[in-house]
Assembly symmetry: C2
Homo-oligomer: 371 residues x 2
Amino acid sequence: MTKALDALSEILLMGPGPSMVNEAVYKAMGKHLVGHMDPEFIAVMDDIKGQLRQLCGTANEVTMPMSGTGSAGMETCYVNLVEHGDKVLVLHNGVFSGRMIDVATRLGAQVDVLEFPWGTPVLVPKVKEKLAGGKYAIVAVIHAETSTGVCNPVEEIGKLVREHGALYLVDGVTSLGGIEVALDRWGVDAFYSGTQKCLSCPPGLSPVSFSPRAIEKIKARKSKVPNWYLDMNMIMQYWEGANRTYHHTAPVSMNYALNAALALILDEGPEKVHARHKAMHDMFVKGVEALGFSMFVEKPYRLPMLNLVTCPAGVDEAALRKALRTKHNIEVGGGLGPLAGKVIRIGIMGETAREANVQRLLDALAKETGR
Amino acid sequence: MTKALDALSEILLMGPGPSMVNEAVYKAMGKHLVGHMDPEFIAVMDDIKGQLRQLCGTANEVTMPMSGTGSAGMETCYVNLVEHGDKVLVLHNGVFSGRMIDVATRLGAQVDVLEFPWGTPVLVPKVKEKLAGGKYAIVAVIHAETSTGVCNPVEEIGKLVREHGALYLVDGVTSLGGIEVALDRWGVDAFYSGTQKCLSCPPGLSPVSFSPRAIEKIKARKSKVPNWYLDMNMIMQYWEGANRTYHHTAPVSMNYALNAALALILDEGPEKVHARHKAMHDMFVKGVEALGFSMFVEKPYRLPMLNLVTCPAGVDEAALRKALRTKHNIEVGGGLGPLAGKVIRIGIMGETAREANVQRLLDALAKETGR
């Protein structure tokens, strides 16, 4: 061990991720390595694919974790689907849809943006209007926007996108495991998530899923995917089929952890896990409002797992966050972009979504604000 | 736990990676997470940077692990340094320099290839001749070619590249931790490695290092790096300086593991670790030749940590590898590309490079070949 490792504190993780990790997941991650081409590892890979399909509500054959964190999943979807000059519509209401604009633009897409105020959801009629005025190859949206705490109406948007004929790209980094994800019912063509939010697994992998329509587009590309590491054509040959072909050395331990984390969710039952997130969110909202904090997002659009609060008058948000971390060993998040200094972001994700954790945070908030 | 995880065997990893992992590294990896922006995690990041500088023989400020496996390191070097139309010379004598050609071509580089037979090293006079006939922005070579077991003369090539004025890109995936790496003395401008070879850490991170000259080129780019996830301009703001800016959620647990793995090497002393690799290689060669196997690479160019052997007459290499894995729980690797079916690749890397492991493999080989 190093001094830096010895100095690590036990933190209650209630920021925008990573979330708390179950001991069974840590234990799985620490299992001794087998090779990345070993039949025993391939059995783990296959099990993860089945687990992800179940949790994502999809029969997509190409459903697997990419060997990078959530942002690598975003990169994967765009770099495989975008060819130079493709028209992409990004529905923009937070940091992560802003990132989508940057990612797609770098890849030579013609990006069109339909913007909504931060803290409010994408409005379906506006999307309908926008789609009527152009022809898009891809329409993209964030399901659970981590920077604002807003849930976007992915199912309703999906109907419009399907009628329009575009591919539908959805970011589920923060939603998967915390609220329902139903890729096939919603008509999603490309989806990515992260392990360190509601899946309650350490960061390091990004589950993705591609519909047969998306795979068709990838296979019909005129140019090679301009990213060897994330090229699905090759990665499919490692993750699918009878003869696995070496592409890169998968992060074996991270896959062990993900396999165990997904098993915990599926064993508890996704509906029950979602209900637990909702119950802990309700408990949090009731408690935090009683302390004089306000919820930043209107009730109908609020995410259960990512809560933005504004402080009572006279309470400095930066000082409060610092006190939570240094005096109570609780991590919460600050605001991003235009919300920096204005809100606190509180994650109640996965294993964090337990009564004892929410109560500990509420008690600490009460103490630090003198209520 | 899942059935797939419960079924994992204890394997002696003597393939081309991953290698064996010390219990202290598994323990570090299992430490409870703190946030990726937490001062305590930033202390781990800073410690890793210092450790990597020491092991890589460099004062490069920009020395850090990328959040992907070794191939992500290759992608990082090319995507940041190559602008459309740049002339790149790849010194090609194996699978991984072949991968370089693919990666650079996808990014719009004009790639020129100087080829040498597999199993033989890059010849310095040929490089000199080639450089005299063109003007290159980047010259790239693999230090330890994992597909052939050959060590390329990176120091001598470095002198020529510096005279030529190109940036010098070196792959150290398999070399770092097993033989000397001296980036500053060799004049290397961009370097990447992997964690799962001689660093004896699970796969999942790719240490990289960029010289001030390389950083200058990256900062002076006319176009944005066409890869958001691996853009060094942004990643430097997360890994460097007084105010760290969020870019992506780093794989926290993998960084804990790397911090611990590097500490083990630096505590033992890199020279001693290199000498241990050499001693275990010598023991292996002596033993395996006595059993009738032949070393594929001529002695002066052999890597200590990656050994290609051809089987004695009458021994089927695929059947032998299968017997080692199923009857002895030992993983070794098959040949890649044109060497498939012709050689066995035996890794003696990091924690694997211990007498008991080499002896166990030699005993199993003796038993299976009836010697």
